[in-house]
């Protein structure tokens, strides 16, 4: 089976995010970069599928030179090869342009199934997987927490508010992974050594023949609104006293209960 997993390098969840003074982006200094956690679930599922059904896993990523670390991480986990799309016009592109570039790279490869994370935890757009599926003209199942593949038949479970849906579709398709799908493996030391020699093809927008005209843009980034300083409740030093004071404040001051 020809399996593709798309990955993005993002700031670690513990990173403090500071907006540049002119609002044009974030300060990148001091940030620890990691594989997007939702993409890790996708890579893990790709590897599990390969181990079961045979075939190979190709990692596709868009990003500057540092994104190669994330591709190598996925290769160290067990993927066979990579495609690194590195182009200043694409590295911070909007969702449509990103998906179009991924689609162009994937169209040149044999594929049966494509894994993406349900969203990247930097821009939180949650769009690329579905747009990619549409451009490739294949079905999608998003936010998948359980996946079974039998021949070309796909059975996937996804949550909605208050229920789980069991969805059936067929290969080829795009699956977007969410927490619960699996427990991503760690790269082994031999895996890390082997990953250094695995092939990674470099591409840019011209080579892919895709437009870099954005459909949308982040006009300005702004820090979150500052919260007013809070109060520590201590009118009465007992837990009961504090609870009574809180209930009263929630009712009369905040008016939220």
């Amino acid at each position: 089976m020809n399996i593709i997993a798309c990955v993005k390098q993002v700031p670690d969840t513990e990173a403090q995010i500071k907006v540049k003074a002119d609002g044009s982006g974030i300060e990148e200094g001091g940030i620890k970069w990691v594989m997007n956690p939702y993409d890790e679930f996708g890579v893990e599922e790709a590897l599990k599928l390969k181990e079961k059904a045979g075939g190979d896993v190709t990692i596709v990523s868009i990003g500057p030179a540092r994104a190669m670390e994330t591709i190598r991480t996925a290769l160290a986990m067990g993927a066979e090869k990579g495609v690194h799309i590195d182009d200043p016009a694409l590295n911070a592109a909007d969702a449509y342009t990103t998906a179009a570039a991924l689609a162009a790279a994937i169209k040149g490869l044999p594929y049966d199934i494509i894994f993406c994370g349900q969203r990247a935890i930097d821009d939180d757009s949650a769009q690329v997987g579905a747009i990619l599926a549409e451009i490739l003209g294949v079905p999608q199942v998003t936010f998948v927490t359980k996946l079974e593949i039998d021949g070309t038949k796909v059975k996937a479970v996804r949550p909605i508010e208050g229920a789980q849906l069991v969805i059936e579709t067929s290969l080829p398709c795009v699956i977007t992974a969410t927490k619960g799908l699996n427990e991503p493996r760690y790269a082994s030391l031999p895996g890390i050594m082997k990953a250094k020699k695995k092939p990674v093809e470099a591409k840019n927008a011209a080579a892919l023949g895709v437009s870099t005209d954005a459909k949308s843009k982040v006009a300005k980034m702004i820090p979150p609104p500052a919260r007013p300083p809070g109060k520590i409740l201590c009118a009465d030093d007992t837990p009961e006293g504090k609870a009574a004071e809180l209930a009263k404040l929630l009712r009369e001051e905040a008016k939220v209960i």
Binding site: T13, E14, A15, I26, Y38, A95, Y96, I121, D123, S125, A126, Q127, V128, A130, I131, L132, A133, E134, V138, P139, F143, K155, R158, G162, A163, Q164, L165, I167, E168, S170, C173, K179, A214, K215, S216, K217, V218, A219, M221, I222, P223, P224, R227, P228, G230, K231, I232, L233, C234, P239, K242, A243, A244, L246, A247, L249, L250, A254, V256, I257
Partner: protein, 323 residues
């Protein structure tokens, strides 16, 4: 030229979900600013009778496709129908819900219509005749102002953030042919969770527990408080990773990003990835024994005490107040 502010109505079991009225009210506001119409697309099965209800929330015209293929929701059926009617009518702005269904549908529409979208918005306005959308990024560690240059300009609205405003408009219903082709996905089964359970992404009040809860059995005291308040029970990553709570309850950067009216954090120290996911809540209460816990920096009301004593007492007080 493209015109009109459109919404994609969201239904469940033959009825509109609350977020649909939030979208309708928002569409009305934007349409008034532009001096244009507010329109809705309703795709469902046996829904012709309720479509006109949207007039109450400011919708001028409702485009309805009534077809058994729309219930339950599948990406292909809904995306095909919505893309067709929006394109045929050259809509300028399209609002979709940032719900589980909307998050599946909206990006597929972005692909079909080759346009752009602002996901999970907490505010939308008109600036220079165009949509300007405000949305949290990095789970709320910062915000972005998004401009979509292609048409339609799509924005997904976070549920529970936009007010519902009644303003009587015609709500004239017109049927349209969804032009459904081959459908490649189908829903085999809908497994409902316990009745009455409120999803954290849609709750007005969330009572959340972290490592300080010490074990899964202790969440019973949070469930009890939540029951009195009509709240959902959330959890920190630590509590979910320990296997104490379901993954769907996790609040934070690798869980759900929430903005309820009231967030009560119990035994949660406030790791940065958790704070990111809940700091846009209107009011935050923190209950923690450790006065140095970072959660207190975000809290409107802080209780430095033993949660196992405070929470049951709070439940009793709320019972008294709420009768």
């Amino acid at each position: 030229m493209a015109k009109g502010v459109w919404i994609v109505a969201e239904l469940r079991d033959g009825a509109f979900r609350k977020v649909t009225f939030e979208m309708a009210s928002t569409a009305r506001k934007l349409a008034d600013q532009l001096g244009e119409e507010a329109c809705a697309v309703v795709c469902g099965s046996g829904v012709a009778g309720i479509a006109g209800e949207l007039g109450k929330y400011g919708i001028d015209k409702v485009y309805v496709a009534d077809n058994a293929a729309f219930e339950p929701y599948t990406t292909d059926a809904h995306a095909a129908a919505v893309a067709k009617v929006v394109k045929d009518n050259d809509a300028a702005i399209l609002l979709v819900a940032a719900s589980f269904q909307g998050k599946d549908l909206a990006p597929r529409l972005v692909g079909k219509l080759a346009t752009g979208m602002a996901s999970d918005c907490t505010d939308v306005k008109i600036a220079d005749g165009k949509l300007l959308a405000i949305r949290p990024m990095y789970a709320g560690k910062c915000f972005g102002e998004i401009v979509v240059s292609a048409t339609p300009q799509i924005a997904a609205l976070r549920p529970n953030v936009f007010p519902i405003v009644e303003s009587a408009k015609a709500g004239a219903v017109e049927a349209f042919d969804p032009g459904l082709g081959e459908l490649k996905t189908k829903v085999l089964e809908v497994q409902k969770e316990q009745a009455g359970k409120i999803d954290v992404s849609e709750a007005n009040i969330i009572v959340s527990g972290g490592r300080g809860m010490k074990g899964p059995e202790n969440f019973a005291i949070l469930e009890e408080l939540a029951g009195v308040l009509g709240a959902a029970v959330g959890a920190s990553r630590a509590a979910v990773d320990a296997g104490w709570r379901a993954q769907s309850d996790q609040v934070g950067q690798t869980g759900k990003v929430v903005s309820p009216n009231l967030y009560i954090a119990c035994g949660i120290s406030g790791a940065i990835q958790h704070l990111a996911g809940m700091s846009s809540s209107k009011y935050i209460v923190a209950v923690n024994k450790d006065p140095e816990a970072p959660i207190f920096q975000k809290a409107d009301y802080g209780l430095v005490d033993d949660l196992f004593k405070v929470v049951p007492a709070l439940t009793q007080e709320c019972k008294k107040l709420l009768g």
